[in-house]
């Protein structure tokens, strides 16, 4: 591949994936500056190793894996203070009602509190759009474990996110079901 085609291929990858890669990086380190560094390092490594990428279909998983490794290498051991939920870089163009914005903040906090074992597969599934099998390969887990973790992640978020009244209502429904049985 000549230099021009190589560069063109790289730029196509940047255009297609930089936003999702940044989002994933942000949720891994929860710091805008670190996330930006991670993304730069990820694409720099991608550029250097571009010839080893056999198929562009695998590019997204490849980039996410590079970023994940970079995060582990650079920041997991020396994690700076996490940002406060109020300072989080959620898009400002949120024109929704205050109640809905509050829900979003609550959900952010709930996702933030998820253990990494549960949060990681969720990020890969929702931000990356990867299947359970792809996530299993990326995290070096078996598919059943991934699906169990995804189940638990959503269960925990539902429990944290559901309005208290609805939660009580749901508990009452469950009790009712148990009594009926």
């Amino acid at each position: 591949m000549d230099g021009k085609s190589r560069k063109q291929r790289y730029e196509t990858l940047v255009d297609a994936y930089y936003q999702d890669v940044y989002r994933y990086g942000f949720w891994l380190c929860k710091n805008q500056a670190l996330a930006q560094d991670l993304v730069q390092e990820t694409f720099l490594r991608a550029w250097r190793s571009l010839d080893s990428l056999q198929s562009d279909k695998a590019a997204k998983a490849w980039l996410f894996t590079i970023l994940r490794r970079e995060n582990a290498r650079l920041y997991e051991r020396y994690r700076p203070e996490l940002v406060d939920v109020d300072d989080v870089s959620i898009a400002e163009a949120d024109t929704r009602e205050p109640e809905q914005r509050m829900d979003k903040t609550l959900l952010y906090a709930a996702i933030d509190k998820l253990e990494p074992d549960y949060r990681d597969p969720l990020l890969l599934q929702v931000i990356g759009g990867f299947s359970g099998k792809e996530i299993a390969e990326m995290l070096d887990l078996n598919s059943n474990t991934v699906m169990t973790r995804l189940f638990r992640a959503r269960s925990k978020l539902r429990d944290a996110f559901l309005p208290q009244g609805r939660k009580q209502e749901q508990e009452q429904e469950q009790e009712q079901e148990e009594n009926n049985n």
Binding site: E41, W47, D51, D103, L107, R154
Partner: protein
């Protein structure tokens, strides 16, 4: 599909397109209602995870950083006439130094040879972190020499600049990377081939240590030298002669941080 399996699959992947799952989700009013709730939750999760502001100009920045490496490679290719995909760039070419020297000229390196100050807890923490960093990074060092483009990129992106220096031309480098320490300070980590093993040269933009700190470790020896606005660390295996490296680096590097 029983309720337990149905609910497990719904929470694992609410967007599951498997016909068996879709049929199961439509098999009763309760399940339909349940799926509505799960999908609604999933929409909220998706909205939250993707509502991260993307920094302005990030895409262009990513393209430019590859472009700057590409330009360096092309300069060498023009000289040699070799194909881009096959060439292995030699290190420390005089032309590359000229190129590097033509880039930003910033505040020159000034070693603050302050000694005798008492070390603070922060100094000691940085010392320990450096040692941990050296151990954690060594698996990434290459066996063979890396390209000048890599080194230029690392120094350049950390805000420093290398000058032409004949003494450097004979020293192969096996690793160059931007690192970050716990206080979020940027650092450029270059590894040169020493007589006893790898010699790490690390420029970091964290607050200068109180005075020159000797590296204390069973395996490594070297020192952390405070600069005007950062630190220079030179460290190698035990009994490596480091004075020469220190002199060469001090003559060759500009570090504005």
């Amino acid at each position: 599909m029983d309720d337990l399996e149905f609910r497990t699959r719904a929470f694992s992947n609410p967007r599951d397109n498997d016909p068996e799952f879709i049929n199961a989700s439509r098999s009763s009013n309760d399940r339909e209602k349940f799926m509505e709730e799960v999908i609604s939750l999933d929409d909220s999760i998706s909205d939250t995870l993707t509502a991260v502001t993307i920094p302005d100009g990030l895409s262009e920045q990513l393209k430019q950083q590859a472009g700057s490496l590409d330009d360096t490679v092309n300069d060498t290719l023009e000289d040699s006439g070799q194909a881009a995909d096959t060439i292995k760039k030699p290190l420390w070419q005089p032309r590359n130094f000229a190129l590097a020297a033509s880039l930003i000229v910033a505040v020159s390196l000034g070693l603050m040879l302050t000694t005798g100050n008492e070390l603070s807890a922060r100094d000691l923490a940085f010392h320990d972190e450096l040692i941990s960093h050296l151990y954690s990074e060594e698996s990434h060092y290459n066996d063979s020499a890396i390209s000048w483009g890599d080194i230029t990129q690392v120094i350049h992106s950390s805000g420093g600049q290398l000058h032409e220096n004949n003494a450097l031309q004979g020293i192969p480098a096996t690793f160059a990377n931007n690192c970050r320490f716990s206080d979020s300070s940027r650092a450029a980590h270059i590894v040169l081939k020493g007589e006893k093993g790898p010699v790490s040269v690390i420029f970091s933009s964290n607050p200068p240590v109180s005075s020159i700190i000797p590296i204390r470790d069973e395996r490594f020896e070297g020192k952390i030298i405070p600069l005007e606005n950062g630190n220079l660390t030179i460290v190698g295996e035990n009994k490596e002669s480091l004075d020469n490296y220190e002199a060469i680096i001090a003559e060759s590097v500009e570090w504005p941080i």
